[in-house]
Structure formats: C-alpha cells, structure tokens
C-alpha cells in the first residue's frame, strides 16, 4: 500500500468518526441530573433529598441585586426587569416588591378571600362601622385611587390583608415602590426558577433569560446586576470548568502533537495516534446512548473520557516497535497478547461497576468497556495497515541505548521498596485530617466574593435557608397542610425565642380545607350580614346600597367548595404553593422553609415533638455521598481481585504476575500516601483517577515484562513507555494546574500515578531481564 493510499485511508477513518459524531450528537441526550449518579436512598432524609433534590424552595431561588445608579434609576430598571420577565417560561416567579398582590388573585377566586383570611367578625355592626369609618379616610388619602375600585365589594379590605399576608415574612425596605437593601444601593429582586436547582441546563436557561432581559433594561446606563443562589452558582462553576477544561485541552492537544512528532519525527503519527482514542470515545458514547435511552449523565462522559485516556497508549506501543523489515500487521499480532491481557483485565475490573447498583456507574462501565475494546481492536486490526512500514527504528537511538545501559546498572532495591510500602501505608493510615471529602459543594467551590454577595442578599431579602427545611408528611395534600397548621404556633414561638428569624409555608397561601370550612361556618348568612351592614351604614357618608357587591361576595364565599391546590393552576399563587407542597403518587409533603437559623438543634427537637422533621440537606447529601463511595470502594476491591486473577491466568506464572502487579499496587499506595500526606481529603474523582493510574501502570509493567531479553526490543519498549508516560504526564499535569478542584484532583492523582508507575515498572517489571541479559 502506498504512503498516499495509507494517508487517504487514515483521513477516511477520521471522516467516518466525524460522521459518527455528527449522527450521535442528535441522539445523545446529555442529562445533568445528579440524581442519576446517586445510589438508592435508604434513610427517609435521603429519600426526600433524592426525590426532591433541587426541588425545594431554597434551591430554586435566585437572588438578584441591581446597583450602580441612583435609587430612582435602579427602581425603574427593577420594574422594567420584572415586566420583561413576568412571563418568562424559565421562571415560575419573579418578584421585586412591587404590586400589591391583588393581581395575584384572579377575579374568579376573589370571594375566597373570606376563606383564606380570618374574617370572623363580619356580623358585628361595631366592627363594620369602624371599618367604614376607616374607608372614608382612605377615600380622602393618597391611597384613594388604589382603594376605591375595591371598596364596593370589599369594605373591610380583606383583599389587602391577604396581599399583605402573602408578602415575604420579612420584606426589605421599599423605595420607589420596589425592594431595596438597607443602604439603598441595591434594588433587590427574587426569582424562582422552573428548573430544579441541580438541573444545570435549566438553570443556565434561566440565567440566560435574566441576563438578556437585563441587557435590554440596562441600556447604556452603568448599572450592574448580581445574581446569586444555588442555580447561579452551578452555572458559574460549570462555565468556569468549561473554560479551564477548554484551554487546558487546547494546550494539551498542541503539546501532544509536538511530543509525538518529536518522538517519531513524522507528522502523520499524531493523526494516527488520535484515531483509536477518538474511536474509543465515540464507541463509548454510542454504547451508552443505545444502552441508556433515558439520557447519558454528564459525569459519565467526564469520568469516561478520563478512564479511556489509557487508550492513548495503545497506538504508541505499535509505533515504537515499528522498524524497517517488520510487517506492521505481524508487529500488531506480536503485541496483541500483552495488549489484550491489559485490556481484558481492565474490562473485567470495570464490570464490577455493574454491581454498584447505581445507574451512573453502570453507564460508566458500558462507556469504558466499549471504548477500551474499540481502541484495542482498532489498534490491532486497523491501524497496522496505515502505518509507515519503515520508520526510524527507536532501537537505533544512541541516547536511548545509553539511557537503558544506565538503567540496567540500577540496583533492585527490594528491601527499600518494602520499607517504602510500609512508610506509605503508615502515612495513609496515620495522616491526620479526614480521609474522605463528603461535601459535594467543596468539589465545585463558589468564588469567595460571590458567597459574600449571596450572604448579603439573603440577609436583606430574608431568603430561605438552603440547608435546613422542615418537612410535614401526609397521605395527601390536606393532611400535610393540616400538619403545618398544627406546627405554626410552635414555629411562632421559635421565632420569638430567636431560634429562627422566620419561616414560610404553603398554608400562608392556601389553608387546609378544614380551616377553610371552619371559617366558612363563621361567615354570616346574607340576612345577618345585611342587618349588620345596615346598622353600620345608618349615619355614615356612604350610600345605603354602596356595598351590595360585598354582600354578594360573602354569600358566594359561604357557599363555595373549599379552595384546593388544583384550583390555583395558572395563577401566580400556584408557584408559591407548588414550591412548598410536594404532591406525589400516594403521599404529599409540605415543606416549611426557614431563614435566619440560630439554633438548628432546638428547631429539630421542637418540630420533632410536633410530628414534623427538620431535614438537614447537607447531612443527607453527605451521607449519600459516603454511601455511594462505599459501593464504589466495594466494586473497586472486587475489581482489584479480578484484575490480579486475570493477569495471573494470562501470564501463567506467579513470579511474572507479581512483577506486573507489584509496581501497580505500590504506585497506588504511594500516590495515596502523597495525597494524604499533603492533607488532601479524597473524593470520588481521586478514586476514578487512581483507577486510571492503575490501568496505565498495568500496561507499563506488562510491556516491560513482555520485552524479554532482546536488547533492541528492550530499547523499543523503553521508548514506547517513555512516550506513553510523557504524553499522559503532560496531559494530566496541566489538569493539575487547574483552579477547579475536580480537574485538579484528577490531574494531580494521575500525574503522580504515571511517574510512580513508570519508575516502579522500570525497577521491578524489567528486573529479571537484566539478569538473563
């Protein structure tokens, strides 16, 4: 096959991959739902966390502040932003303190005001007279234009009372009709996203809508918009991760191409080198897309691409061994047993992820196994035909030969390794500080100043706490609401004592049917109301027939069926109630959001004594992470055993198997010791990175072990392992420089593992060759 034909074939392969990627991009449904990556919940708190993760009132909330101009301008922009976003499909609620709330009650529900508020005294002429006197004053006040349209049907202003009751418990100050912070420097706004807090795409869409609206509202003024809250943070972190991963990726690519060119002095090698890796990624994605039509988790893809990083080495093995006079196909055939041993051992190890009982890990196993197998098969059967049959022989390099001679003179410090292993083990076990990092949020840290802004806005707006929430379960909505109603006096006492600054619940908007019926029973019938009203109107400035619509509304309220959640559909109230009353098949949960928590333990004790539970979402998520990790560890333990057994069977010799396995085990131990010694708290990403490191080490050792006693083969093996480890080291060292802990964890762990595995493979796996040579 001519060089030209080979190149054309390689380009055709690349074209097929691009075509495949294009076809897949339409089918691949990336899901950001963290729940898919979590194990099945066991405790009730975990159950609620998983069910309602990101659905709670706190996690959907975005806090906004507009600053950078005089209060009048800020207020105008706040209003304009509210108008622009009032009907945005991404948001369920957008509030800035304006609007009295009458607009919140649709006309057809207005008579219900007498069931939604306490209106016990409507049959008392004295009360009515006092109310009418106050209304006369209202007509002569600046509020006249606002109140007058309501008066005929609502002389006691129950509508206003209701609107006030629906205001947040502690509202910020009003300037120019909208919320402002105490200093008057920030116009404050609150948004509730439709998407759950942990749905990054939905949060991104909401943030984009807000940003676009603000850009229009802002015009050419110099005002600034600050948005905080769980959703805003996750969008920010995702964006930063994307940005860093993207520049690291670009630098990596350039460096990798240069390195491969330097190692083989051929510009075709980088192209050929990338084909198996790209095929592996595509095959992995394709396999999960077919196997999991419900959506591929974003983390699967991230972890998966990390784990298949090992296949970058496969073509390098082939390249380094190629020399004039050797048929590339024969070379591939010769390398296959070693490559296959590593492949099969690793794939069997990943099979254990199936046993972990987590959808996300199953996806990861499918992705990795499909990817590794594809890359290995491509290297074995496709790549040889494309290879230049007579490149520079790596064994011909004088400097490499000198290096190998020096390596051969190195001692075999078995005892030193044993001591090293013991010391490493001691460090791993004895190093102070927690072993594991359970706090998910620490993986994706929010910038300090964003946290400060959030704390300030949260304080000013009296926004609910994101960590604690009180839950009142029930067989249905009615029961759950009644539970909260029983809880209210207790919560009021907690507010008085300062254990909490305030709370919010669905019953503030929608009392239980029981309460509504009780209020209904207290409403006077038309005759009694008419009599009381006539008495109150006797010598008032109001006309005798002025309040006929009022009498009609009370009669309607007295006869109406109690208001239920379903009746609120399509009103702004539905958003408020839905966030605090979660209805599921067969059960309902009413949430009480808290803010300004002073004493969580007292709250927990008090609500528990009253049939509700204080849920610590942080604790629940941490226990879930710990639970998750123990499953992963179990799977990995099993994987290690299977891997050792596979190597043993493949090599058919205890000593050979040990030479291959010991460097890998020692490296893993050493990396753990270094991480622990540096005070790093380990997380899942470290674990995944360790698995990759071990996989790389296994390959290095297998190839060193396989090199045998032919000096040229030894030189070529040295060359390939140097190229392999340098490329991997390069990629992951850059990742270790990242400011994002997730990327840093993977980068530092793998980089360390590569160095350790290379050194140990050199010392241990090649050891007997020196003796026989």
């Amino acid at each position: 096959m001519s060089a030209r034909k080979r190149l054309l074939l390689a380009l055709a392969w690349l074209a097929v991959l691009l075509l495949g990627a294009w076809a897949l991009s339409g089918r691949l449904q990336l899901s950001g739902d963290l729940r898919k990556f979590m194990p099945e919940p066991r405790t009730p708190a975990q159950q609620l966390l998983i069910e309602e993760l990101g659905e709670g009132p706190g996690s959907r909330l975005l806090l906004l502040g507009i600053s950078g101009a005089d209060p009048g301008t800020l207020a105008r922009q706040s209003q304009a932003l509210r108008e622009a976003l009032a009907d945005a499909p991404q948001l369920r609620l957008f509030a800035n303190g304006s609007g009295g709330g009458f607009d919140a009650i649709p006309e057809r529900l207005r008579p219900y005001r007498y069931l939604l508020t306490d209106s016990a005294r409507l049959d008392d002429p004295g009360y009515l007279r006092a109310q009418l006197e106050a209304r006369v004053q209202d007509l002569g006040s600046p509020a006249a234009a606002l109140v007058e349209p309501l008066l005929a049907s609502d002389p006691t202003l129950a509508t206003l009372a209701l609107a006030e009751a629906w205001q947040p418990a502690t509202t910020p100050q009003h300037l120019y009709g909208v919320w402002f912070d105490r200093a008057g420097a920030n116009a404050l706004l609150l948004a509730q996203t439709r998407a759950a807090g942990f749905d990054p795409d939905g949060q991104q869409a909401a943030m984009d809508a807000i940003d676009a609206a603000f850009a229009r509202v802002r015009g050419d003024t110099t005002t600034r918009l600050a948005v905080t809250g769980p959703g805003a943070f996750s969008v920010d972190v995702a964006e930063r991760t994307r940005r860093e991963a993207s520049w690291i990726g670009s630098v990596d690519t350039i460096a990798l191409v240069l390195l491969l060119w330097l190692a083989y002095r051929s510009w075709k090698i980088p192209l050929l080198g990338v084909l198996p890796l790209a095929s592996a990624g595509l095959a992995g994605l394709g396999a999960v897309a077919i196997g999991f039509p419900g959506g591929v988790h974003g983390i699967t893809v991230a972890f998966g691409f990390t784990l298949i990083g090992v296949v970058q080495d496969y073509p390098i093995h082939l390249f380094s061994h190629q020399r004039a006079g050797l048929d590339p196909r024969a070379s591939a055939r010769g390398l296959w047993p070693t490559l296959a041993t590593g492949l099969v051992a690793t794939c069997i190890a990943y099979l254990t992820f199936f046993a972990a009982g987590v959808d996300g890990l199953r996806q990861l196993a499918v992705f990795t196994i499909a990817g590794l197998a594809t890359a290995a098969l491509a290297t074995r059967f496709l790549l040889p035909s494309l290879l230049d049959p007579a490149p520079r022989d790596a064994a011909g390099s004088a400097s490499l030969a000198r290096l190998w001679t020096r390596i051969e003179r190195l001692p075999r410090p078995r005892k030193a390794f044993a001591v090293l292993a013991a010391v490493a083990l001691a460090v791993v076990v004895l190093a102070p500080g927690p072993f594991w990092q359970n706090d998910l949020s620490r993986l994706t840290p929010v910038a300090e100043d964003a946290l400060r802004t959030d704390a300030r806005l949260r304080d000013e707006l009296g926004a609910p706490d994101v960590r604690y929430v009180v839950v009142s379960p029930g067989a249905g909505a009615e029961q759950a609401l009644q539970g909260v109603e029983r809880l209210r006096p207790v919560l009021d006492v907690l507010v008085e004592r300062g254990a909490i600054a305030g709370y919010d619940s669905a019953v503030r908007y929608l009392p239980s049917m029981a309460v509504q019926r009780a209020r209904q029973a207290q409403l006077p019938d038309t005759q009694a109301l008419r009599a009381a009203l006539d008495e109150a109107l006797a010598d008032s400035p109001f006309r005798a027939d002025a309040f006929d619509p009022f009498v009609a509304d009370v009669a309607a309220a007295k006869a109406a069926a109690p208001l239920q959640v379903g009746d609120l559909a399509g009103t702004p109230l539905a958003a408020a109630v839905d966030g605090l009353l979660l209805q599921r098949e067969g059960h309902a949960t009413a949430l009480v959001s808290l803010h300004g928590i002073g004493d969580a333990q007292e709250v927990a004790r008090t609500v528990h004594a009253n049939g509700a539970t204080l849920l610590d979402l942080k604790q629940a998520s941490e226990s879930l992470v710990a639970d998750y990790r123990s499953r992963v560890l179990f799977a990995l333990g099993l994987a290690a055993l299977l891997l050792a057994a596979t190597v043993w069977i493949a090599l058919r010799d205890r000593r050979r198997a040990l030479r291959v396995l010991v460097p890998m085990a020692l490296s893993t131990l050493l990396v753990l010791a270094v991480l622990r010694g540096c005070g790093v708290e380990l997380n899942l990403f470290h674990l995944v990175a360790l698995v990759l490191g071990a996989g790389l080490g296994l390959d290095y050792a297998l190839f060193f072990e396989h090199a045998g006693d032919d000096r040229d083969e030894q030189l070529r093996t040295l060359h390939e392992v140097i190229v392999c480890s340098l490329t991997t080291l390069l990629v992951f060292s850059l990742l270790a420089l990242s400011s994002i802990p997730v990327l840093r964890a993977i980068g530092s762990t793998v980089a360390l593992a590569v160095v350790a595995n290379f050194v140990f493979a050199l010392f241990i796996a090649r050891a007997p060759m020196r003796r026989s040579a």
Binding site: L139, P142, A143, L146, Y176
Partner: protein
C-alpha cells in the same frame, strides 16, 4: 389625590405681590409666567380644603388640612378635619399614618395618578416649565390676576385615568386645582391658600366648587 399633590408641589403662598400685576390686568397670561410665579423653594407650607367625590358617597368628602414642603425631596400632607392623618411622600412612596395604627405604605408607581406627579413634582417646585412639558401639554388663558392653566397628561397610563388638570390662580397665588377624570364623573377639587381660607366659612358643596373657579371670590 392628584390635586392635593399638585397643590403641595406648587405650595402657593398667601399674598399677591404687586409687581406680578404690573403688566396690567388685561394682558394675556403665559404658562411660563405662571410657573415662574408659583414656584416655591422649600421650606414652605399652605392650608388646603379638598373635596373628594365618589359614587359610593352620598356627598363629596370635605377634608381640611395643611401641606408642608420641609425639604426639596419631601412633601407632607396633614389632614386635621374631619379626622387626623399624616401622609409623607418621599422616595417614590407615600407613608400614611393614622392615630393608633401602623403606617401604611403605598408606592406611587402603583397609582398612575401619582406616578405622573412623581415625575413632575420637582419641575413644578423649581418652576421648570421644560421638564413639566415632558409630562403634560400646558395651556394657559385668562389674565395675570385671574388665570387658568390646563395640564393634559402625555403619559399613556395617566391619560387613561385623567382627562386634564386645571389650575386656577391670581398672580403668584395658586388658588385651586381641579382634576377631571376621563369619564368626567367626579371632578376632584383642592382649594389652596386664600381660597382655602375663604372656604372655611362655606358649607355648601356647590358654592365651594364655584369658589374653586374663582367666581365666588370675585
């Protein structure tokens, strides 16, 4: 409500400076001339009598009190009869205080009638005809000693509710403000300064309306 705010904004004071009539009683009056005369820097105050009609009421409510303009950003409306009530308008918000009750806050932006005045408030007090013309078209007629200025709102939201606002005055004295709603049903009147003092002795609603027009005083 609007007339009362306008009144406060303009804060007509007592007395007709002799020089204002110097051009002669018959000369046709100009809006700029009026605005220049009725501008009042803080602090200042004036008494008022307001007539508030409503379909719900047997007859218009008669409210007596005083407007104060303690500083450039603040306006106080103090009602003394038939009840006591203090309204403080500052930073786009009206705070209404009544004895024994917690203050009620009303955003001016929620009431179109008030939103208009919010933007023209400063212009009125400063006698800034240009700024006032951004929000209203102005038309003056009559003589300098008995003038009438009609304000037609430009703002669409306000124009939905208010047809026009008519100011009546003599020289530098703004005596009465009439607000005519779009349906012309209930004209609201605020008598100020000398007219408010004259009104003290009058009970009859029709006579008070006439006083606003200036007829009764002539």
């Amino acid at each position: 409500m609007l007339p009362s705010l306008l009144a406060a904004a303009l804060l007509a004071t007592t007395g007709v400076p002799a020089e204002s009539l110097a051009a002669g009683p018959q000369a046709t009056v100009q809006a700029d001339w009026i605005l220049e005369r009725i501008a009042r820097p803080a602090p200042s105050r004036t008494g008022f009598v307001e007539l508030r009609g409503s379909k719900l009421l047997k007859e218009p409510l008669r409210i007596v009190g005083e407007y104060r303009h303690p500083d450039a950003d603040t306006l106080v409306r103090e009602v003394r009869a038939p009840y006591t009530e203090t309204t403080t308008i500052r930073a786009g918000e009206a705070v209404i205080e009544r004895a024994g009750k917690s203050p009620r806050r009303v955003s001016l932006s929620r009431v179109p009638e008030l939103a208009g005045i919010q933007s023209s408030f400063g212009a009125m007090l400063a006698g800034d005809a240009g700024r006032l013309r951004q929000h209203y078209t102005l038309d003056a007629d009559g003589s300098r000693q008995d003038w009438r200025m009609t304000l037609v709102p430009r703002d669409a939201r306000l124009a939905e509710r208010v047809r026009n606002i008519v100011l009546h005055g003599r020289g530098a004295e703004l005596r009465c403000i009439e607000t005519v709603p779009v349906d012309a049903s209930e004209v609201q009147r605020t008598l100020l300064a000398g007219a408010a003092r004259d009104a003290a002795a009058i009970d009859d609603v029709a006579a008070l309306a006439a006083l606003c027009d200036g007829a009764a005083a002539r």
